[in-house]
Symmetry: D2
Subunit: 328 residues, 4 copies
């Protein structure tokens, strides 16, 4: 459901995944659904047709953000497993009202792609194995290469809900304890039109946990050098880091110095493998009834942090999270 | 055809390739063929059944080296496109006798995987684009992580035909002119049993072209650090290099220093993408009648260099190639 | 003046500098002064003897922090050029009272070593040359390898005045505009004894300038991997970075992966060249009457930021700097 | 003695070395001697004056290559310790005739700078400590950034004696056993004028030892990317490598990719520390009677390899060294 940018990405991966049979594509724009269906060896259909079809075991929901939650719930009611894009909703209240999702076994997977990235996953695994002792502080660098379209910004939920949402989930994943306080400073230094649209394009945040662990987050909507996706995890005995990914190891040596291959430009290349692994996980949910690795609770926790960050940036104060994320 | 190590690798890739339908697996050992067929969603069959089946458009030939040429020719005669493992033959005479293959359009692809590797391919493209001026000298590092089984060595053709054969083809590909002279020194420093079997485990070679370009090749059957697959191309204005590939960008910093992820251990991981691209190329041959990107002439040129290298190592002299490789 | 750790470091460099003649060493502990004097080919003397000696053109003041300002002023009154360790004082009030220092030509150099480091200096030069467009945000990583002695902590002024002071000066140097707001979070996660002594061992800070530039600072009193001294400067067209320094380019490749040489362990090695360049600058002050490159105004600006950071960490609020640093 | 390029380099280092007092500079060109003497705080003198002066303990001989041996012997006869540039002579016969030098305690130091480089020295130390098991093969990359002046070439002795001489010594140092056979291929691909002057500008060599260890050497007189000085040592358990040296760790990230600082351009920068350490060693010879770390035997061994390489390149055959280098 949804044949936009993310819908197309997931549809093509689903078509290439030997464990999945992609049958139908739906979109509010039937021509767009049709075009993608042809490209993927599937057929166009309406949302209702898909929901009504008993052969459909799972649905990839990649509609516009404001429809994600409703669409996902409809699929669940129809007995389908759900693969939902993030953020599941822009409203904490709406999410909290979706009580059916509180059950961890509810088959609704929220696709936080960082957790499926092989680089980040290896860092997580080695961190949890104690390779650098106990984790103390964390730096997350998440910079987009270029600003989004100005038409997208008003319905994006803003930088924190649209973009930093990934870092909030990554922090929760790596810190292994609830974030209790948030401080955020944001600026509009790249494009004043973003400010006119009520958003920011640059932010630095600090998260604090109950035990005093600190996490820095750096966000930017423009780099000049591609997609900057890095993690530094500082432990009591050393550090583990993930650097940016280059498509090849080719290096040119000339009088200017050694120059490596350009970093991946944006998420479709950088997280290509993560997107494939998300679908493998979805196949495990469908085939083996595996519980979603990230779902409602993670989506709600990240969204609460995003709201707190927004409030912090507006007020210039630290925002405490009631009960941390423990009440999720 | 052939359900050994390479046959299995290609069969699994063919099964996952949306452009190919893998139907039958043949092997001298029917149980092995059956096991692989089950794993790949195919059926076991005999060579003859496959050749006789008009629906079969192409055959992947990954039999033992001594049967490659004969099997490939049989497939061609049966009107199939052929994907053949390397080296196509261990005998220059036998290859030269296969005159049917002289036609560049003969649909027999010899799978020299280095040419399909994205790292090496980018180096080639940038080299040919003149990024570092005119190519002058070349270094090829090709070190295997561990010695092959001692039972394989007697039928491998020896280090130069089994292993350096890749470097001979890579050199021909990058140098863009015939190699006219070869010098090789080889030792058995890793395992005396390899020497007892009549082979060597370590070699350093120099190739020279008519215009004076020089190419160093370094071979070893053991590293202690995984698979060493590097190229350095020195041009009149700079150098282009391909380094070893690490699965992730994870780095650990501790008191010993910064330590990156271990290099890919061996060819299945290091050249995984190259093997997939080989099959895409094979699909292009079958679907569009595309000529094989590497075929008989490349196989013969590489084999002649391997024979010359062997003679050089035996005699301690430079071996000139009659007419370079121009008479291929 | 002062034969402690920093005094010894500077004395040895002065003895080896062909432009300087090191004559006398003074210390409250005459035996320590004597030992260092012997090692440096100088003689021990009292502070007063040095001040009274008309041949003395300049004095390196490396006393304990609480005596730096008073000693420096005494040297100035005696007509000597002064090389002073940082922080010049722990008290903003005391610094503000030293009105004689307001004159930028007053020959009192405050040795902020980062500005003399060849790595950082090249970044600064290329940043100012516009290589990556306009600077937008800045990350400063400053992690010490090991906690200081517990006897030092009570008189150190605390993490912000003793350690972060370098980052405040580096930020001012690179940002090229006054910092107007500070936010700091600090924890004691390494050693509770540091907390018992009233200090913190881990901090993350954000600085903001009037135009909205943001600077992250990360501090830690322990690493497990040596001295972490990095800068990332993000501009409108790209980024410039300084990485950690390794004594050699030796790398070992083994089954664990490629491992580089250990980073410099601490400041004496990491900033060895910066310390030598500081003395060259001091020689320029003495020989050519050059004005100090960093002096009173820089020391005061950094100290005000340190006080503001301390207040921020205590209160959990943003601290605005009255008039930025413009009123220095 | 000698105020040319190398003479000036050593003179300036000697002037800055606290353990040495540089008193006199001699050169066939008195004006050149005078200019350098002024720059170094020394005085110009004739060779004979220096030899006759009993206060002179040691002499740095950096004359033109054809005068090095004679000058060095004259200094020895006058009772001076000698620091001689390489190659000590261009003639094996002349060297063999200098029987007074056979005594390892003869205080004549031949300055093979690679052995004093901290990067190479650390590799040597770790190699000898067995970090990567037993050394099996070695790659030496030695590429100059630009061709020497055409007036220098005829009296340089040619590429092998002038340039590869360093690699022959480095190989002997690292291999720890005599080289018994040499093969060399050389071309003139950079500048035909070098060929017209009877020399080559590009060479690839293989050395073999009695036990079968193999050493590759790559030489070039031009790079386009500065000075290429690398070592790869392959052992039974892994590899140790020295990479090129960059003055700073500054990296720029832009759309072309990450670009590091340019490599040191040539020997004065790349081996600056090695040259200083050579003089420290010379001070040890003078002050403590320490035997030269590299002397006559090393110079002769390297020169024999250079002659053998020249013969190999001329004849296209392997050249065996009578008795290896054991008869030195």
């Amino acid at each position: 459901m949804g044949a936009g940018r993310m819908g197309e990405l997931h549809a093509r991966n689903a078509a290439a995944n030997p464990r999945l049979d992609l049958h139908w594509i739906a979109d509010n724009d039937p021509a767009r659904a049709q075009a993608l269906a042809v490209a993927c060896g599937a057929r166009a259909a309406s949302f209702d047709q898909i929901l009504a079809n008993p052969e459909v075991k799972g649905v990839i929901v990649a509609t516009s953000t404001d429809a994600l939650l409703e669409s996902g719930l409809a699929c669940l009611r129809a007995g389908k497993a759900v693969f939902s894009e993030k953020p599941l909703s822009l409203s904490v209240d709406a999410l909290e009202a979706a009580t059916v999702l509180v059950d961890p076994a509810a088959p609704l997977f929220v696709a936080f792609n960082r957790r499926f990235d092989p680089h980040f996953a290896q860092l997580k695994e080695r961190l949890d194995a104690g390779e650098v002792g106990a984790l103390e502080t964390l730096h997350l660098i998440n910079h987009d290469p270029a600003t989004p379209s100005l038409t997208f910004i008003p319905r994006s939920g803003g930088l924190f809900k649209d973009f930093t949402i990934h870092d909030f989930d990554t922090a929760a994943w790596l810190l292994n304890e609830p974030v209790t306080e948030v401080f955020a400073w944001a600026s509009c230094v790249i494009d004043p039109a973003i400010g006119d649209a009520g958003d920011v394009d640059t932010a630095k945040l600090i998260l604090k946990t109950g035990s005093g662990k600190l996490c820095l987050i750096s966000n930017s909507r423009r780099t000049g050098y591609g997609y900057d996706q890095r993690i530094e995890a500082f432990g009591s005995k050393g550090a583990l880091r993930v650097g940016n990914v280059q498509p090849t190891t080719v290096t040119r040596w000339d009088e200017g110095g050694p120059e490596g291959d350009a970093f991946h430009y944006a998420f479709p290349d950088r997280y290509a493998e993560a997107y494939r692994r998300e679908l493998d996980h979805f196949a495990d949910m469908i085939d083996h009834g595996e519980a979603p690795r990230t779902g409602y609770r993670d989506a709600l926790a990240a969204l609460r942090l995003a709201e707190a960050a927004g409030e912090s940036a507006r007020t210039g104060t630290v925002i405490a999270l009631a009960g941390g994320m423990a009440n999720v």
